[in-house]
Assembly symmetry: D2
Homo-oligomer: 343 residues x 4
């Protein structure tokens, strides 16, 4: 309460809280009075306590998310991706590399990228068929044709496929072809889309909004979980800051922060975070060392002709270096390569 | 080019640029060579010059947007909102106040808020029927029923209605009831939704993404404009920074920055920017003084019972003060109240 | 307390708080226990409650600053600047324009800029003799010679002088020549310098750190105030964000936010905030309208030859427009031009 | 140049550039003309090209720093710290752990912390005698007495000492007692202090300003280097972002970014970046994996009674885990423990 709050102001707050079944504990001090609220936090949402006379500020103490919280589900979860026979885990015991082209451009380019991915140790193939682009004049993806190309690459390589869905109207067709649905950074707060993928019955890869707090990201996961399934993998992909030397700033701390508060797996995307090929291997190493359950990277057989994000796609010696990192580092942290457990 | 770029590296860049019909001007210095590119910038997108050997960095000099740019349309535009007889302008000659409840809760609350808005000088009624909420446990709006309530309030007060649309699947029904479609801050980069509203034939109020640059915001407007109509009004509503004393930081400079580069009208939203009722009147004054073409605010007959954003809704003496500001300030900048020109 | 805190954990916190003379009020809920602390907040600083077992988080409710707070000094203050006979106020009743060259380059340039400033309505002359520059290869100012030039310009124009001090070792010599000592944005957290100016007996213009919160800014003012005088004027000069179209983002909300919580006067600096000459007049208007007690701008007789920040210095028609704004806008908010009250 | 720039405007820019001995290469396009400048970039600083008619924007292409750049010094540097006999390296071949108490409180606490540091594998002792504190009411350090305590701990443990200097007037006394001078985050742009430590003849640990870009940080190092010595070690300690779950956001990418552009060693400070004890070990692992040349952490024998930053000080099992990380991870990246090379 504000320093000049009256007893009447205090009584009004208490009454309001009790009116929705909550309890209010009043602590009177020399200068200020603090009121602790206990009860169903959702019912407090509509009380608008901040509008009451004499109220100086309101702090929430509990977590606003439930289904994705470790509070009621202390064990960290493992999410399985892919059809039977090529199903791979993402979780606390394993390490999963996802790789593939930023955008699906042709069957040849996709297959070649998929084979590069596999040879580097990837167990899930990523690739974009529907691309959200800042400019309406940029390449928007091949759409359904791209999904078919990805499905063919899965048959050829045995790698399950993750691909982005950008519109609730496309969820059904994407879910038909892909093994995991990706929500991109620009759609993290597209709540209609979150609910639609939540009902699609496939695991979800939820990228962090480039300016979302960890709490908002977990609330977005809660939207998906609320629709009935909890097979959500979180992906840290850089946040927007004032630093111009990288496209975004990889928030490496988000990995242990999420793991402390949510049971969901969390991976990192060094390609989109940095936008710089020379940083991908060091950042992938850092992500593994911070405890990430996986890493997702762009690979492309000919980055200089890529229709999307060529400057950050790995190939050649960089890719071999990543493969070496993926072989050596996860076991230092007691993790098994996800591919070893495929079933 | 990097300091160690070879003549061959330079030749490769020139050849690449010329291969898509561009021109490349080479400026050789003691330490570095700079290559200036001239031609169709869209064709340069796919060149991936950053991936070429010897290239140190690539800077774009021209604006990436076209239809919304002042470069080809130097006169600032006026957007008209509402059905014939109650049509009001938003543009460089006038000043427009939009006001109404954050969320439509009931016919009585909406009508009362609309009358408050009108008495304060508002000429457009705002109100949310579909609400994008960070928490799935928060009130999500009345949906179509809310649209009907808004339409009724329009009949009763003569104020055209602006309301948010959050899902491409809802565009048709919202366009049927409302006079202006609002894209909220969380959906500024929901490109499918931008295209859908671009085709709906109603003027659009495009809020800035809370972490979007001015350029990205104008690119979002370009998405709408590309679908064939240019009746887009931009709304600055605060950006995310490290400062905790306000919900977001109102980027007041965005008003003259946008006006220098785009012909579209631009208004400000001090309610959502600050989240604090005590700041709304000073920020509204600042917005008018900075040259905004309008202001949008939350009003509510009983903020303490509001289902959404009660702490920032105006009423009583605050609202009367806002009304006084709206009467006195715009004419200092040579603007006419929008209501005087309704037709 | 964390959900799994034990009674023992709670008892330990209570005991710790009481050990320094504080009171601890325990509110037990279904899931969590909240403990409200009351007492001398400084004594709580060293308790390290966050390190205690079972403690989930600690929120401070009271303001950490005292001398500059409105809590114990509800009336807003007026600071007087200048020697007797040319003393001018900065405060809630008046409006003060400060203007002058970013850097003092020569007697002629400084005098000419001072006369431009005066003709535009300025009542305080600004000018830099000691310049903090990001690059050691940039012009660093004329030093003591610059101070003398400023003092001469004061004699010639009757305008008191504000100038920056960048090193505690220079405070004495700057205080000897200038009427007001400026702490620049890069030195806002240079606590030794704050204490030195706090002892110099001259009013202080304290710029906000470009990445400081309002609370940290007020704590910096508290450092000065602690040394015995309260003649501190705060200056909002833009904060660092992700938006590249302006050098920094003018946090216009900081004006009413500061005024709600501190009794000190607050002004804005649109020149350094934006770095763009075309934005200075609109931002100055916005600042006045938001309630600022003054505005500080760069003027230069020949911006294209300026040794510092030429692109943002006003001259000619822009300066005449600013003069017109300064004549017309403040009275709308009930303010008197500071020059009318000089004594 | 702006689209409407005239031939005369272009000629004026060329003339201006040539007047200071530079070359200007004009590239004329359909819509725009681009002018590439070549020559001494420092001489271009004062041209104020942005103020010239027809100039739309100015981009710098070359690095603004020289002495600390890899451009003229491609080999990465090693900095040696400590008196003969206990001198340890920080550089590309080794890994260095620095540890100690945030603040020196007493001889006993400091010695105990130094022994904890040594047993965890640290080869340099950190400890604060002069503390820059946001609040004037917080503990400010023991000053010269603290320096003496640190020097005693060095004798007892054989660990060279790094300690912060916050005021140019204290440089001499700090340099007399300590082996390495630390510039804290709040003083990164305190140019007088940078120059003073640059002349003191001891190696410098330069923390990144919490809101400084990598380029500004390197410019600060350039200030030190300009005074004649290059024994500067950079320390990434977190930047200010909108994310509240950590005190600052550790910019892990800064490690490879700095190493790509400067020859100076770079270490990370996970304690101050996160402010959370539970994140220090994962972030230390991430820093090593990203290629950092060292890590600096807070340790304290009794964090719950620490006078400064207790919540982030390591002890007990956390410290043992850090020790294990420091033993196992650096060699994976081909690094030798710094202690093995002491001389």
């Amino acid at each position: 309460m504000a320093p000049d709050a009256t007893d009447e102001d205090i009584a009004r707050v208490v009454e309001r809280v009790e009116s929705v079944g909550g309890e209010a504990f009043v602590s009177k001090g020399l200068v200020r009075t603090i009121i602790g609220l206990v009860g169903d936090i959702d019912s407090f949402h509509h009380l608008n306590l901040r509008t009451l006379k004499g109220v100086a500020d309101v702090h929430r103490i509990s977590d606003p998310y439930k289904l994705v919280s470790r509070q009621h589900h202390p064990e960290r979860s493992t999410v399985w991706v892919g059809p039977e026979g090529m199903r791979v885990p993402i979780g606390p015991e394993t390490f999963t590399l996802m790789a593939g082209p930023c955008a699906v451009e042709s069957p040849e380019q996709t297959l070649e990228a998929a084979q590069m991915a596999k040879s580097a140790g990837a167990t899930i193939l990523r690739g974009g068929a529907f691309k959200p682009r800042t400019s309406p004049y940029a390449f928007q993806g091949l759409g359904v044709r791209g999904l078919e190309i990805l499905a063919d690459a899965r048959e050829a390589t045995g790698l399950p496929v993750v691909t982005e869905v950008v519109d609730a109207r496309d969820v059904a067709v994407v879910a038909e072809h892909a093994d995991m649905l990706q929500i991109g950074t620009r759609n993290m707060a597209n709540f209609g889309l979150l609910q639609a993928v939540g009902e699609a019955g496939k695991p979800v890869l939820l990228k962090r909004g480039m300016t979302a707090t960890v709490e908002e990201w977990l609330m977005a996961a809660e939207y998906i979980a609320q629709r009935g399934h909890l097979d959500v993998v979180l992906c840290e992909r850089g946040i927007r800051t004032f630093e111009p030397s990288t496209r975004n700033t990889l928030d490496i701390s988000a990995v242990p922060v999420v793991q402390a508060t949510s049971h969901l797996p969390v991976i990192i995307d060094p390609s989109h975070a940095s936008g710089r090929k020379d940083l991908i291997v060091p950042l992938a190493r850092a992500g593994i060392a911070a405890g990430a359950d996986g890493v997702i990277v762009d690979v492309h057989p000919a980055p200089e002709t890529a229709l999307c994000d060529g400057p950050q796609a790995l190939e050649g010696s960089d890719l071999r270096e990543l493969a070496s990192v993926v072989r050596r580092f996860p076991e230092l942290l007691g993790r098994t390569p996800a591919g070893d457990l495929a079933r």
